[in-house]
């Protein structure tokens, strides 16, 4: 142990032993535990793997749900497509109906225009008819007034007829008495006696009251305002005139005290007789 080499080896042994201790202590103190890290990493890996599995399951479940939803949506889309097709068919049908309706509308419009024109014409016609009706009402009123006048006149004439019948009865009695008287003097009352007709016929002027044709319209009678009180007799001829125009001649057929009726002599007619015309025995 006295030699230098041994001492040096001892010192080197000491140095290396100390170095070994220091490195071993450093390794123990400062080295990282790879096992713990590996276990931690493995644990984390397991957790991640579990999460991945969970996510995959969730994804699969979502995919299944999505597939189901997709199928449902596809069915809905098919149903909607069928409905759309049906609606397109309905639309075409409605368009055709619309076209027909428009044609009918145009036709109805044309008809309504025609009817409107016809209505306007009817309105104008009704206005004319209303005016005509008013005229007819006025005419009816006038005719009624005339009828009332004629009725009054008829009443007067009825009284005159009654009076004439009484006079006729008196005349018949007188004729009977005169016939008896003629028979008493042996004179045939049926034989006509020629009596000189009086040539001095008084001038009698009157007016035409009314003119009327008989039922067969074969003859026209004229009523005048002069009668037996004015020396008018049956069979007398009288002239009818209006202003300066001579209208014709009548023959007296019926005579009343203040009126007479004459028949128009057709072959001596020169116009139409009317109410207000003048009648006279001498022109």
């Amino acid at each position: 142990m006295n030699n230098v080499v041994s001492k040096m080896l001892i010192v080197l042994q000491l140095v290396f032993s100390l170095l070994f201790m220091c490195f071993a202590g450093a390794v123990y103190s400062f080295q990282q535990s790879w096992r713990v890290k590996a276990e931690t990493t493995q644990k984390s890996l397991n957790e991640k793997t579990q999460q991945v599995s969970q996510i995959t399951a969730d994804r699969d479940r979502d995919l299944g749900q999505k597939d189901a939803d997709l199928k449902v949506e596809r069915d809905k889309a098919e149903a909607a497509a069928a409905k759309l097709k049906q609606q397109e068919a309905d639309l075409q049908r409605l368009q055709s109906e619309l076209a027909q309706t428009q044609q009918q509308r145009d036709k109805l419009l044309a008809d309504s225009q025609v009817l409107q024109a016809e209505t306007e014409a009817r309105i104008a016609e009704s206005v004319d008819l209303r005016v005509e009706t008013q005229k007819l009402r006025q005419t009816v009123t006038e005719e009624l007034a005339e009828i009332r006048g004629l009725e009054d006149r008829n009443l007067g004439l009825s009284g005159a007829v009654k009076e004439a019948k009484e006079r006729e009865i008196g005349h018949l009695d007188e004729i009977g008495r005169l016939s008896n008287l003629l028979r008493y003097y042996k004179i045939d009352p049926r034989k006509s006696i020629a009596v000189p007709e009086s040539e001095d016929i008084a001038k009698v002027d009157g007016l035409v009251v009314a003119t009327r044709r008989n039922q067969t319209r074969s003859a026209e009678h004229v009523e005048i305002t002069v009668g037996s009180d004015d020396q008018v007799k049956v069979g007398m001829l009288m002239d009818v005139y209006r202003a300066d125009k001579w209208l014709g001649q009548i023959r007296i057929t019926d005579v009343y005290p203040d009126s007479a009726v004459g028949q128009v002599i057709e072959n001596k007619r020169n116009g139409t007789f009317a109410k207000g015309d003048h009648v006279t025995t001498k022109l």
């Binding site: 041994s6 000491l14 390794v27 123990y28 080295q31 535990s33």
Partner: protein, 42 residues
């Protein structure tokens, strides 16, 4: 060879110190291995 029972020198003490350092180092290495469960890479 006559000096067989000589007194220990400083170098003897240094050798024991070196021995103790080796033992401490071995203990550190054993503790380190204990962290890995005394298993080796296979």
């Amino acid at each position: 060879m006559s000096q067989q029972n000589s007194d220990p020198t400083i170098y003897d003490g240094l050798m024991f110190v070196a021995l103790g350092a080796v033992i401490v180092g071995i203990v550190f290495l054993c503790l380190t291995l204990d962290k890995y469960g005394w298993t080796t890479a296979s």
